[in-house]
Symmetry: none
């Protein structure tokens, strides 16, 4: 679970509004003819074309083709946002596909989506807390070794952070 890009996690306070926007985009499809090219999306969300193609192969995205070239609607864009969000939470692409499909089936996706986010963030938080505990253990060990060597070399001891 690395850093969350601002595009994916836009100013955390407005998360609720952003969520509704995603839902709206997903419903509207492309009335305003707001379409995106591949590099456009890649720059916007810091992903590679390879990744987009991969998601397409796995059935997570299905942009239209104009003359062979991929053209993404606003709905596709919204799905990409959902994909990237779920990825940060440690979901596999298969799980994300389930999530997206389930979402497309019932019109009422919002409640389920929220529950999913709740579940995933709960799990992610638990994992990170565990990791931190292990880091603390390793730090203790390393400080012991380090200080032993320092003692041997006649250097001053390290101080705990």
């Amino acid at each position: 679970v690395r850093g969350l890009s601002p595009s994916v996690s836009p100013s955390t306070e407005a998360a609720d509004a952003a969520a509704r926007q995603v839902v709206a985009d997903h419903r509207d499809d492309d009335r305003g003819a707001e379409l995106f090219g591949v590099t456009e999306l890649c720059k916007a969300f810091d992903v590679t074309p390879r990744a987009l193609r991969f998601y397409e192969d796995k059935g997570l995205l299905s942009p239209r083709r104009i003359n062979g070239t991929r053209v993404y609607s606003r709905r596709d864009r919204a799905r990409l946002v959902l994909i990237l969000r779920a990825k940060v939470l440690g979901s596999s692409l298969a799980e994300i596909k389930q999530y997206l499909d389930m979402y497309g089936a019932h019109g009422e996706g919002l409640q389920e989506q929220k529950r999913y986010v709740l579940q995933r963030t709960d799990a992610a938080i638990a994992e990170l807390e565990e990791k931190r505990a292990h880091i603390d253990n390793s730090l203790a060990e390393l400080r012991i070794i380090n200080n032993k060597v320092r003692e041997y070399l006649g250097l001053p001891q390290r101080n705990a952070t």
Copy 2:
């Protein structure tokens, strides 16, 4: 990240004592002829034989062979503990190998080696402290999102650990 056996993470308060134990085990090797079979280790640390073989292929473990069958000393066991700990921290096996080689140099005499160990442990400590900081950041973000969803769903808030 699945369940961590208590042997790998022994009751955080006694981390210091445990750390000394690991160091001790690593130095002693097998005075008491305390040897372990493959399934024994697998059960103890919840790893598969395949994983142990894989670590061996990569040069992280080198158990003795008795009649073709792998036999692990206490030192091997200690190395396995270190491997599993480092893995949870997100280190690659290649990195872990460096880390283990560094442990191996710990007992042996020369000053150059000591200086190397000092350098490596200093670096490792700095890296871990950085990782810890990142984890704290991610945890803060996740807790905000999580609590927002909980609010929306009318659930009680999470409490910080």
